[in-house]
């Protein structure tokens, strides 16, 4: 037993549980006063606008809050209130760019978000033609990203399962290292790799002897980009599955491969799906590899294995740089479509992963 020492606080203070609190009205008052003073200062001196008022008001509110709270409630409570206010405002600050992006997209993108946009391509659309659409680009994005996902998900899952469940020692470490290196590959390099390897070396044998662009080549480049994301996120999720679950399955006489397929993967499924969706979202937004190996193009091409294909990201890039006065509206509409597409896919995947599961 250690000897008891008296706490270094006055006894009467130690025994009192109730303390004075600032009323909500006071908080509102401080906020209103802060905004008023800030507005007065900024507009009277004429040195800034709305943004400065908000920033200054926030600062004044923090100072006022701290002062009022220290006077009424004491230092500890004052610090608590000030930090809470800071953290909340940081959250709002972090949210601002997101809201701004969504708002900008919506307000600019709605203009050309019509039937024509979804049902026509850019084939034979001249600079003076206000019509034209992204049908060919939507087809391209769906096909390229779809094929890339079909290639990458099985490969990535297998790789992660090997590293987590089977890999021992050097070889598994080597794989993890290379996956890490792959994470850092810039998309243009992935595009160049496929250009050099697939387009220039392999595709002549598949065509009539000349190298050819194709949507499939873009899928390959996107695969290179998606693979590390999927492997790493799946790996983390598999490691999160508790060992007792595996042991519980082994103890029932279930072989290891079946344990992985039926117990470990379903348990980790929601996390794995999130990782896959992140990879898909990244791939859908890539421009450089598609430009390099699929070539773009204005016409609808359903065949991903032959001839040029465009994609939404590439469409945005091309329209944004186009001289036509109707092009920017098309670029915005395509950007909005791309974001909406990824969002819908993500929501659908989340719902699918959640089905058959209980609450989590």
């Amino acid at each position: 037993m250690t000897t008891m020492t008296a706490p270094p606080v006055a006894p009467e203070q130690n025994l009192r549980l109730r303390a004075r609190r600032l009323p909500v009205v006071a908080l509102l008052g401080i906020a209103v006063a802060a905004v008023a003073v800030a507005a007065l200062l900024v507009y009277a001196t004429g040195i800034g606008g709305f943004a400065l008022v908000v920033a200054l008001a926030m600062l004044l509110y923090l100072v006022g809050l701290f002062a009022a709270s220290s006077a009424v409630e004491g230092r500890r409570q004052a610090r608590n209130r000030t930090w809470s206010a800071l953290i909340h405002s940081a959250f709002v600050l972090a949210l601002l760019p997101l809201i701004s992006v969504v708002w900008t997209l919506l307000s600019n993108g709605m203009e050309r978000l019509d039937r024509t946009f979804f049902l026509t391509s850019m084939n034979n659309i001249g600079a003076r033609d206000p019509n034209g659409g992204a049908y060919h680009a939507i087809v391209g994005t769906l096909e390229q990203v779809g094929i890339a996902t079909l290639i990458t998900v099985p490969l990535g899952l297998a790789c992660a399962i090997y590293v987590v469940e089977y890999g021992r020692g050097r070889f598994a470490q080597l794989i993890r290292f290379f996956v890490d290196v792959m994470t850092g590959i810039p998309s243009i390099v992935a595009g160049l790799f496929v250009l050099a390897f697939w387009i220039l070396i392999v595709s002549p044998y598949l065509n009539d002897g000349r190298p050819g662009y194709s949507g499939f080549a873009a899928s390959l480049a996107l695969s290179v980009l998606m693979l590390p994301t999927i492997v790493r996120s799946t790996e983390e999720m598999l490691r999160l599955v508790p060992a007792p679950l595996r042991e519980g399955s082994y103890a029932l006489g279930v072989p290891k491969w079946k344990t992985i397929l039926r117990i470990v993967l379903p348990t980790a499924a929601p996390g794995i799906v999130t990782g896959v969706m992140l990879a898909i979202a990244r791939a859908a937004g890539e421009t450089a590899p598609v430009l390099l190996v699929a070539g773009g193009g204005a016409a609808i091409n359903f065949n991903p294995f032959e001839n040029n294909q465009s994609s939404l990201a590439l469409f945005v890039y091309q329209q944004a740089g186009d001289a036509s006065r109707y092009a920017p509206a098309r670029a915005w509409a395509a950007a909005l479509t791309l974001v909406a597409l990824v969002l819908i896919l993500t929501i659908a995947a989340k719902l699918l992963a959640r089905r058959n599961r209980f609450g989590r």
Binding site: R168, P242, P244, L245, R246, E247, G248, S249, Y250, A251, L252, G253, V254, P255, K258, T259, R262, I263, P266, T267, A269, N356, R357, F358, G359, R360
Partner: protein, 258 residues
């Protein structure tokens, strides 16, 4: 049904560390055997080597001879999964599969081993849940998640899951250590019931529990930290708790050591 287990000079390692050394004992069919001893003395390691769960950990291996009804379970051409189907195991913490319902949990062993027919599965589930004294509590919510049950119910669910595959032997690794006294009692009652059909080996830190439920008791101990665990005494539970032949056993059960 139940089978005799014979261990001869069983030594188990974790990499370079020797966890237990030269354990030799025989467990008779349809009895409850308790393994007691201080923490780190190798009771769980020995238990896990009986159904080859020890080797699941990287670097872990077992020497010596372990037979069930005369068949060496560490023989080269023995299928590990067959051993584990014959020798089931219940763990310290209840570990129902979180993605599965109560029903799916119980029949997981059968289903994952290839049984598909619904009528067989339903019958097996009811039988196992009744044996585990859980049927009345869950029969109306078999499609609800297994992880939603209370701790004691989850542990009985895990016992039902284990006996649903009709093992010969059931190993229990401190099955009540995470449970309250009422759930513990329920599981001890269950052990009495299961004894008619299965051979049961239980690791426990609770000596009253060992005295209550077991026919035979094995006392394990270590000399110092880092030494391998050894079997000190193995005898009828009655004798171990009233008149042990070893001084160390007596010290341990009277609470003077460990």
């Amino acid at each position: 049904m139940a089978m005799r287990i014979e261990a001869t000079n069983v030594t188990a390692y974790y990499g370079g560390f020797k966890a237990i050394e030269n354990i030799t004992l025989t467990v008779e069919p349809k009895t409850v055997t308790a393994l007691i001893g201080p923490s780190g003395c190798g009771k769980s390691t020995f238990l896990r080597s009986i159904n080859r769960m020890h080797e699941v950990l990287p670097g872990a291996r077992v020497d010596g001879r372990l037979t069930i009804d005369g068949q060496d379970i560490y023989d080269r051409d023995v299928d590990v999964t067959a051993v584990r189907r014959m020798i089931g195991m219940v763990f310290q913490r209840p570990n129902p599969f979180p993605t599965m319902s109560i029903f799916e949990n119980v029949v997981a062993g059968l289903r994952l081993n290839g049984v598909r027919k619904k009528s067989i599965l339903e019958e097996a589930a009811e039988r196992a849940l009744r044996s585990a004294n859980l049927w009345d509590e869950v029969k109306d919510r078999l499609d609800k998640p297994g992880a939603g049950l209370s701790g004691g119910q989850q542990q009985r669910l895990c016992i039902a899951r284990t006996i649903a595959v009709e093992p010969q032997v059931v190993l229990m690794d401190e099955p009540c250590s995470a449970l309250d006294p009422i759930s513990t009692l329920a599981i001890e009652d269950l052990m009495f019931k299961l004894k008619d059909r299965y051979t049961i080996i239980i690791v426990t830190h609770n000596m009253q529990q060992a005295a209550r439920v077991s026919d035979k008791t094995a006392f394990f101990s270590i000399e110092r930290t880092g030494d391998p665990g050894r079997l000190i005494e193995y005898d009828d539970t009655q004798k171990i708790f009233s008149n042990p032949s070893e001084k160390k056993t007596e010290d341990y059960i009277t609470g003077r050591f460990g």
